[in-house]
């Protein structure tokens, strides 16, 4: 909670938007009208269906397919469906624990409320997008945490002791940095069979991205540590018999926290783009589970892009998230 308050206070507009998106995605299943795998073959590549205000309440038009080849739709004349709030729909577990089937909005069957249109299987793109965005958030936060644990430890040890430990750690880091990241990611991914389940794939991706990210961080932290170690207060702490662990936790980490916060923020986009990229290539999260990358992969062919240009939205969402995180990082750096 303190982190949230800090982002609200210091993060500027970008921080507020990100916090809003993140908290919304946490209760995503409730906010979206449908489950991520709610297939409707009769609505394949159907366009967005917005609710309308009428005298008899809020309604949505019911669509029917006109041409199964071009996937063109028209509203069935005179046929509409009512829109409800806090209604029952697809089942889900809130936060993965509490079973529920309540949704903020939904439409009576066979009507469908769809803010962004549908994909090839007639699944609601908006519902999938929110769940995919949450995956991006959680995966990158988790991945950043791992890569920080390794990177910061390596950097502190390296910068504090120097000597041969420093050489070993830094040379190891150089090895990781000498391989183009996508090549390293793919090499790490090759350790596991191509078609592993999405849950495992998420772990593998997180591990792979952390593996790629730690070295750059370790270098930065090492530099900061080396300059801080020369300060008088560290010397005083040492002279009064503090153990290295105490010095790391009580003196070095708090003093480099401004760098750390900026580095955390600026390393999140790498994880978001990395997950999206690997899933896009079919090496990450596998369908039917939504991820911003595998949803974009659905839009790869020109015919699909012409029929359902809204499938590109997941790509734009990646761009938006990266822009916001970069802006947040800049903002924190400028205001500290």
């Amino acid at each position: 909670m303190t982190a949230a308050r800090k982002i609200l206070a210091k993060g500027g507009l970008a921080g507020k938007i990100l916090l809003l998106l993140f908290s919304a995605s946490l209760v995503g299943e409730f906010l979206v009208p449908y489950g991520y795998n709610d297939v409707r073959f009769d609505l394949s590549y159907a366009p967005a269906i917005f609710p309308e205000m009428t005298t008899s309440g809020i309604i949505v038009p019911v669509l029917e397919q006109v041409d199964p080849v071009t996937r063109s739709y028209r509203p069935v004349p005179g046929k509409t469906a009512r829109v409800h709030f806090f209604c029952r729909g697809d089942r889900y577990h809130l936060f993965g624990i509490f079973p529920s089937d309540r949704h903020l909005v939904c439409a009576d069957s066979p009507g469908r409320i769809s803010f962004l249109g549908s994909d090839a299987l007639g699944r609601d793109l908006f519902s999938r997008l929110v769940i995919g965005m949450r995956l991006s958030f959680l995966l990158s936060l988790f991945g950043v945490a791992i890569s920080f644990l390794f990177g910061v430890t390596a950097g502190l040890v390296s910068g504090y002791w120097g000597g041969w430990i420093d050489s070993v750690i830094m040379r190891t880091g150089e090895v990781f940095m000498a391989i183009p990241s996508l090549y390293l990611l793919m090499g790490f991914r090759a350790l596991f069979p191509p078609g592993i389940p999405s849950g495992e794939a998420a772990l593998v991706i997180t591990g792979a991205l952390a593996l790629v990210g730690w070295a750059g961080l370790a270098r930065v932290i090492r530099g900061v540590t080396m300059s801080l170690v020369r300060e008088d207060y560290i010397l005083a702490a040492r002279a009064s018999g503090a153990t290295p662990r105490e010095i790391f936790i009580n003196h070095l980490l708090p003093n480099m926290s401004p760098y750390l916060v900026v580095a955390v923020t600026l390393s999140v986009p790498g994880f978001i783009v990395g997950e999206a990229g690997l899933s896009f290539l079919g090496l990450g999260i596998a369908p039917p589970h939504p991820s911003l990358g595998n949803m974009l992969a659905d839009a790869q062919s020109l015919t699909v892009m012409r029929t359902a240009p809204w499938l590109l939205v997941s790509g734009f969402l990646v761009v938006l998230l990266v822009l916001l995180f970069n802006r947040l990082g800049d903002h924190i750096r400028e205001n500290d």
């Binding site: 040379r171 090895v175 090549y183 783009v273 012409r306």
Partner: protein, 321 residues
């Protein structure tokens, strides 16, 4: 001078050894190898599998295997690809030129666009050119290469200006070398432009701040006061001093560029290393994966060294150090 170059080269040895060890580890850590896949095939008898295993040295202890592999690497042997049924080195050699062509042309495009634009932007900071370009540079940094490539496919499909897929049109091989060249160029433009647009943002911002810094130097004012023409000043003094940090980060950028090139290749069907790697990972063709990692690392290290050489050539301060 020779000594410095030699030391640089010697410093590469542990890094290369580390990379080879890492890629070897990645391969050996994987639960199965290509033979375990093959052994699922009922048509292949266990004896043949055992024979192949000893032929490739897979039944020997790990350190022996590693040394054997390194020894083979030094001879330029990367092993055998089990999905393409050819030697890995042949495959890689046939793909590396395509990736390099793509990467080099995108570097030429992005530097050629970013540097003049950044000098113009720095001349009138916060002018409309600078403000537009700064805004676009944020976008350029944020947009992932694969998404940009997809948008490129859409552009090509809607306008018909560019061919999509592959590096040459079918049937062009029989024609004159000039039309083969033009065809290749036509296929290259869109992937190279995609890749360049993705890296132009960082270059623009860095170059602009560097130009502004150099322009504020007292010796610039002195040179201007002595009546040097502004175009001479730009070419002879401003550019050479301001381009320094750009070359310094080139090595860093190159890693991202090669990764981006891999994504771009996959979307456009450009037959380069990235597509080869993806295929290798998908079919668990481990020798090919390892060869790909090694090649990627060597390309990156070479790029770094070329950048260092450029810096040495352009900047007398680096030479005197």
């Amino acid at each position: 001078m020779m000594r410095k170059v030699l030391i640089r080269l010697l410093n590469l040895v542990p890094v290369l050894a580390g990379i080879s060890f890492l890629s070897f580890l990645l391969m050996r850590l994987s639960p199965g190898d290509f033979l375990s896949q093959m052994s699922l095939n009922p048509q292949v008898s266990p004896e043949i599998i055992a024979k192949l295993r000893s032929l490739y040295g897979l039944d020997q202890p790990l350190p022996v295997q590693y040394l054997k592999w390194v020894e083979a690497l030094l001879r330029g042997e990367f092993g055998y690809s089990f999905s393409y049924h050819v030697k890995v080195s042949d495959l890689i050699l046939s793909r590396v030129p395509n990736t390099l062509l793509l990467a080099v042309s995108s570097v030429i495009l992005s530097w050629g666009l970013a540097i003049p634009l950044a000098i113009r932007g720095a001349m009138y900071p916060n002018g409309w050119i600078d403000r537009t370009l700064t805004g676009m540079s944020y976008l350029s940094i944020a947009i992932p290469s694969f998404f940009l490539a997809i948008l490129g496919v859409l552009l090509a499909g809607e306008t018909g200006w560019f061919p999509i897929g592959g590096a040459s049109s079918p049937g062009v091989l029989g024609e004159s070398s000039w039309s083969v060249f033009l065809d290749r160029l036509h296929h290259l433009i869109l992937p190279a432009l995609t890749l360049a647009l993705g890296s132009i943002g960082v270059l623009y911002r860095l170059m602009k701040s560097s130009v502004m810094e150099v322009m504020g130097k007292p010796w610039m004012t002195a040179a201007r006061a002595r009546g040097l023409s502004s175009s001479y000043l730009r070419r002879r003094y401003l550019f050479r001093n301001a381009v320094n940090p750009l070359i310094t980060i080139f090595g860093f950028e190159l890693g991202g560029l090669l990764s981006g090139a891999a994504f771009t290749e996959m979307v456009y069907g450009w037959p380069g290393m990235g597509r080869l790697m993806l295929h290798a990972v998908m079919s668990q063709d481990l020798y090919l994966v390892m060869g790909g990692i090694m090649t990627g690392a060597v390309m990156l290290l070479l790029g770094n060294m070329i950048a260092d050489a450029f810096l040495w050539f352009l900047d007398p301060r680096v030479r005197e150090e």
